[in-house]
């Protein structure tokens, strides 16, 4: 059977191609297949990375290509790591990161726990909950801008309904204290379903026999949750946290559409600041160093993510 498949594959090979590969070892044929991918990876990923590292040690400006480029060593890194404005940007990113992760994990896990219970319309509710995740961040940013409008926005009226406050008395994206929360709410609304799906996968991987054994031992629902449900879904939760952490560290499109980094610099996240340095101020060398700092941070977090992923696979 396998012989006939090989024979058919050999017959299907065009004669020109067969003549070219004739006499090549298996290893050489394998390399000839892999080489284009390796070349593409080197050209698209590795070369730009090495070039960015090189630029980070210079004062190169992309809008002045003919200007003399000076080698300034670690000065760009020194400036970034002593700049209090960038430090504040990092703090804004940390605020966004921490709160989105906490809210998404809490709400996502609760939703997964509810959806995991068999009830009528279970599939329909799962689809409805997952819908925000399927939308484009640009679209989400735009329509939430309308929802947050103090005059016509639905959000202010809902808040006013529950609190009794005047709906026009506050502006979510115009207020220094509320704008960071505005982007947190939108990101949570959009990405909680993703965390829910991961948690749901974790909850559904727990065999019913474990709960049955726990019930035989007269373990309460509360104890079952803390000793079975939570420990067995923890690797999945960890994955969700790391994945959302890495994604939100790079957050750009949604926040640009919503607040543009304002008011002032309150919602200027690192990726927005980096874009301004690179393509508005045209400090390419400085922006390269900034990008390398962010890259190393994300790469480090990604390493832990891969390690956690392997642990989940081993389960």
């Amino acid at each position: 059977m396998s012989h006939s498949v090989i024979a058919r594959a050999a017959e299907a090979t065009p004669p020109g191609l067969a003549r070219r590969f004739k006499g090549l070892s298996d290893r050489a044929i394998a390399w000839s297949f892999v080489a284009p991918t390796i070349f593409l990876l080197l050209a698209v990923n590795i070369f730009p990375l090495i070039w960015t590292i090189r630029l980070s040690f210079t004062n190169f400006r992309a809008n002045r290509p003919n200007a003399e480029v000076e080698w300034i060593g670690l000065r760009n890194y020194d400036r970034i790591l002593t700049d209090s404005d960038i430090w504040q940007t990092m703090q804004a990113t940390a605020h966004f990161l921490c709160w989105t992760i906490v809210l998404q994990v809490l709400i996502g896990f609760s939703l997964a726990w509810l959806i995991n219970r068999k009830f009528k319309g279970n599939d329909l509710w799962t689809t409805i909950i997952v819908l925000p995740m399927m939308l484009s961040p640009a679209v989400v940013g735009n329509f939430w801008t309308f929802l947050y409008q103090p005059q016509i926005g639905l959000f202010n009226y809902v808040v006013a309904f529950f609190t009794g406050a005047d709906p026009t008395s506050f502006s979510m994206i115009g207020s220094v204290s509320l704008a960071p929360w505005a982007i947190i709410i939108v990101d949570t609304w959009m990405w909680t379903p993703f965390v829910m799906l991961i948690c749901l996968a974790g909850l559904r991987s727990i065999p019913d026999s474990i709960y049955e054994a726990a019930e035989c031992d007269r373990a309460s629902k509360w104890r079952q949750f803390w000793t079975i449900t939570l420990p067995m879904t923890l690797p999945f939760l960890m994955l969700a946290v790391l994945f959302r952490g890495i994604e939100n560290f790079k957050m750009f499109d949604l926040v640009v559409q919503l607040t543009g980094g304002g008011p002032g610099n309150t919602t200027t996240l690192t990726s927005i600041d980096l874009k301004r340095e690179a393509f508005e101020k045209w400090r390419t060398g400085y922006a390269s160093a900034y990008a390398i700092i962010l890259f190393v941070t994300v790469f480090g977090l990604a390493s832990i993510y891969v390690k956690a992923l392997n642990k989940v696979k081993e389960r």
Binding site: L81, V296, G300
Partner: protein
């Protein structure tokens, strides 16, 4: 006498590593590298002291490079 009666067993992963190289085992070193990376990220984003922010990148970089190196250690 008793030795000859024992059946040969495959060595456990820890036993298979030569004793001189037993300190270069992946698990604890990977954990240490992960802690360094985590510490670096916390230092980068904390709002309290500027010097911690200034030293965050070297700490993260050391952790990341260490992680890459130690992930090639035996289990």
């Amino acid at each position: 006498m008793s030795m000859s009666s024992q059946t040969p067993e495959s060595p456990t992963p820890a036993e298979s590593v030569p004793s001189g190289r037993r300190i270069f085992v992946r698990g604890p070193w990977e954990m240490a590298a992960s802690i360094l990376i985590g510490l670096g990220v916390v230092m980068l984003m904390q709002p309290f002291v500027l010097w911690a922010y200034s030293w965050s990148f070297p700490v993260t970089l050391i952790g990341t490079v260490m992680f890459i190196v130690v992930s090639h250690f035996p289990d």
